[in-house]
């Protein structure tokens, strides 16, 4: 359940926080910046509770793993998080539990304003995370690295990620960019309830980096729910389904791939370019971004990865 939970946390957040505008990135930076001004440089956060799984990943990636004392109900990466106390998530944060862990930094969702207020009143530093594009992810890594006193590691992680993404960009440069539909979910066993990435957000940006042309790039929303007709009309050349769970048994995989066969006129179906990708790293807006981008690039441009 946790894997599936993380499966589309990002994509669904996109829906919930649909109004997440570029301005929010500035907010995140401002709150950190403000705190930087208010607190002495030595007061790094030694007890961190994180309600946001991808930010938890970032904490571990920058070396602050030992400072994490509480995680959300949906955390499962890295494996160390599995033994940490769970404090709820977006809908059901367990404030009592959080307080009992005596944190000096709590990472919450940007929409949990009441929670923010509660912690602020209790004198506990709060970092509100708002979901946006790749740059926002990198900035968040830097922010949490700095808050936990791992600035250098944070900068290194960001540098590595950037060069990873740049490398991918370079590899696919000049290759024709296929019209790609990035499917984030649909009803099992059928083509109902399909929803895909839209022209905004970090998944869209990853697709762009990986050398794909988002078939819904003109729709400035983070997710799109296309009808069968829309999919036929848009005629994507490649369809990539992203699942954050584990790969299912072969017969299920075959059946799930086969549901696309009813859209015979879609080029992706005719040329057998429908890919089903499985892995928890695929939609984690965190340090494994690069791996996700590479996975996309490998299916979009297999010829440059021989």
């Amino acid at each position: 359940m946790a894997a599936r939970a993380k499966e589309l946390i990002c994509a669904v957040l996109l829906v919930l926080c649909g109004a997440a505008a570029p301005g929010s990135r500035a907010d995140a930076r401002e709150s950190v910046g403000g705190q930087r001004d208010q607190t002495a440089p030595q007061t790094r956060a030694t007890r961190v509770v994180s309600l946001v799984p991808n930010v938890t990943e970032m904490l571990f990636a920058v070396g602050a793993g030992s400072q994490v004392v509480g995680v959300s109900s949906y955390d499962d990466f890295p494996p160390e998080t599995k033994t940490l106390p769970r404090v709820g998530a977006l809908l059901d944060p367990d404030t009592e539990r959080i307080f009992s862990l005596r944190p000096n930094l709590v990472i919450v969702y940007g929409s949990q304003t009441e929670l923010e207020g509660q912690f602020a009143r209790a004198g506990i530093r709060v970092y509100p995370y708002r979901h946006a594009g790749v740059d926002n992810v990198l900035q968040t890594i830097r922010d949490v690295a700095q808050l936990t006193g791992h600035q250098t590691e944070g900068d290194r992680v960001v540098r590595d990620l950037r060069s990873q993404l740049d490398a991918i960009r370079a590899r696919v440069r000049g290759r024709p960019r296929p019209k790609t539909m990035l499917v984030l979910g649909r009803d099992a066993g059928s083509l109902r309830g399909v929803y895909t990435s839209g022209g905004v957000g970090f998944l869209h940006e990853l697709l762009d980096i990986a050398g794909g042309d988002d078939v819904f790039g003109d729709i400035k929303r983070e997710s799109v729910q296309p009808s069968n007709e829309t999919m036929i009309v848009r005629a994507p050349e490649v369809v990539i389904e992203m699942h954050s769970g584990e790969s299912p048994p072969a017969d299920v995989l075959r059946r799930e791939r086969a549901v696309w066969n009813s859209l015979v006129s879609v080029p992706a179906v005719r040329n057998n370019r429908v890919y089903l990708l499985y892995g928890s790293y695929l939609m984690a807006a965190g340090p494994r971004l690069g791996r996700a981008a590479e996975a996309l690039a490998r299916v979009l441009h297999p010829e440059v990865y021989r």
Partner: protein, 332 residues
């Protein structure tokens, strides 16, 4: 006299419904040419117009016809059974039961589908059946007529209880599941092919077939249960048949396309305004008009804000709400 009226009205509304089925796939956010769609010389896989017509729109229109006709006629039967023109197919809890089944399948069901049918439609059908059985058990005593008051109370209670359960399950669900639940609750005629339609068809046909036995008895029943009895109506049997068939119809429709509101109450009222209140005419006319109505609403849903699609339940609500306001104003 009534035979003539019945035939002409059924023919008229039948033409409307058939026309809607045939014309609606032609219209949409993308322009297609009928000539091209039916041009046999172009291979089917290459013929985008044909693809749009047959693969994308036709199943949708057929689903709209099936769901529209079943919900509208179930609404008529429910209104007669409860003796109340404000009753809907969802009044006695069938759709809430379906919703609970769907929510449980979405939240706790694995991603594996059972044979050709995905788990959500089956779970929602099961939920609808469970809800109907509970209401039936609460409201009936063997051999005695059903008290409509008790039936209504049982339905309302079940609605409240199951709604609370749904909220509880949603609270325990994660974002994806909550989102998928909301989408299901909005209703969707884009069922993704002909298979779900074929699966739902037997239930629908059985329910519509059972409806055929009801109209005259419903006329008498809606004047009064006792007086109907003295005129030879087996009140208990009529009530049970009405409840069973309306619940079956609603369960089939909701498990196919989700709970699409307002069809079951707007269409019967509109039809009564046009053809009078004799159930022998209202029931078939509502079924036919309901098909055309939902196809029309879906047409609006997929074209008005293209390329974004409005959920069809929103369109039926936007049509239904003002209609009822107007009815209210007219009555007072």
């Amino acid at each position: 006299m009534i035979r003539g009226r019945l035939i002409s009205i059924v023919l008229g509304y039948g033409t409307l419904a058939a026309g809607a089925c045939v014309l609606a796939p032609l219209v949409g956010s993308t322009h297609i040419s009928l000539a091209r769609a039916f041009d046999r010389s172009i291979p089917f896989a290459d013929n985008v117009d044909a693809q749009i017509f047959f693969v994308a729109r036709m199943p949708r229109v057929l689903t709209g016809a099936i769901v529209g006709s079943t919900l509208a006629s179930a609404g008529v039967v429910m209104q007669a059974l409860l003796g109340n023109p404000l009753a809907t197919p969802f009044t006695l809890g069938v759709s809430t039961g379906a919703a609970l089944g769907a929510v449980l399948a979405i939240t706790f069901g694995s991603n594996l589908a059972i044979s050709a049918l995905a788990s959500v439609p089956i779970a929602s059908l099961a939920g609808a059946v469970v809800a109907s059985v509970i209401v039936y058990a609460l409201a009936t005593r063997p051999g005695r007529p059903i008290s409509t008051m008790v039936l209504l109370l049982a339905g309302v209670t079940l609605n409240a209880f199951f709604s609370a359960l749904i909220l509880f399950v949603q609270y325990a669900a994660d974002f994806t599941q909550a989102y998928r639940t909301i989408r299901w609750l909005m209703g969707d005629l884009d069922v993704g092919g002909f298979q779900p339609i074929v699966a739902a068809l037997p239930l629908v046909l059985v329910a519509l077939g059972l409806f055929a036995f009801l109209p005259r008895s419903l006329n008498l029943l809606s004047v009064g249960a006792d007086i109907a009895s003295t005129r030879g109506v087996d009140v208990g049997r009529t009530q049970r048949l009405a409840f069973l068939s309306a619940s079956l119809a609603t369960a089939a429709a909701v498990s196919l396309a989700g709970p699409i509101g307002f069809v079951g109450i707007v269409v019967p009222h509109l039809v009564r305004l046009m053809v009078g209140v004799d159930h022998r005419i209202v029931l078939p006319a509502s079924a036919l008009f309901g098909a055309a109505f939902l196809i029309g609403c879906d047409l609006i849903a997929r074209t008005v804000l293209a390329p974004v699609e409005v959920p069809v339940g929103v369109v039926t609500a936007m049509v239904g709400g003002p209609f009822f306001l107007w009815l209210l104003v007219r009555k007072s």
